[in-house]
Symmetry: C2
Subunit: 97 residues, 2 copies
């Protein structure tokens, strides 16, 4: 398996509606991109100051399948239409399990 | 369950020995901190430019158990003795599963 983790930090002026729309739209992707094996979204619990806002953990059979997800038009549409407007910072790692 | 994800980026001059020492020392923590339920380390596979270097995903029964790990002397020792010297950037999220 090949795991993708991305952590996103929203801008201070991101609304609750904008944050919820990102989660809603991303959660549609497993139904659209068959290469996704597992897909999990998490909203930061607020235990620590300075944390990022949002986590996505996804698993794929291979790096190639991850790239299909990365470059899929449905995924790019969520980035362009929902994420880009409220993105303050991004951190990502992919690794083989 | 309560999940902790942290992504770390190493400085450009971090050596292979320093990177390996972080992984080795962190992997000792599940044997020392009984609150840790699962603990997984990942080294970035190099698929994407600009990625962070290193991922830790850990699961706990509760936010309180995560805080035990966060503040445990054995964990703080790894941060102080191994991670701080080569840390260029850090991103973290904790969330309830």
């Amino acid at each position: 398996m090949f795991r993708h983790i991305v952590l996103l930090k929203w801008t201070d002026d991101a609304t609750e509606e904008q944050r919820a729309e990102v989660a809603r739209r991303l959660n549609e992707l497993p139904g659209v991109i068959p290469e996704i094996r597992t897909y999990q979204i998490g909203l930061d619990a607020g235990v620590n100051q300075g944390n990022f806002s949002f986590a996505v953990t996804a698993e794929f059979d291979s790096p190639e399948d991850y790239v299909v997800y990365r470059d899929h038009p449905a995924h790019l549409a969520v980035i362009e239409e929902c994420i880009a407007q409220i993105l303050a910072a991004r951190a990502a790692v992919q690794y083989a399990l």
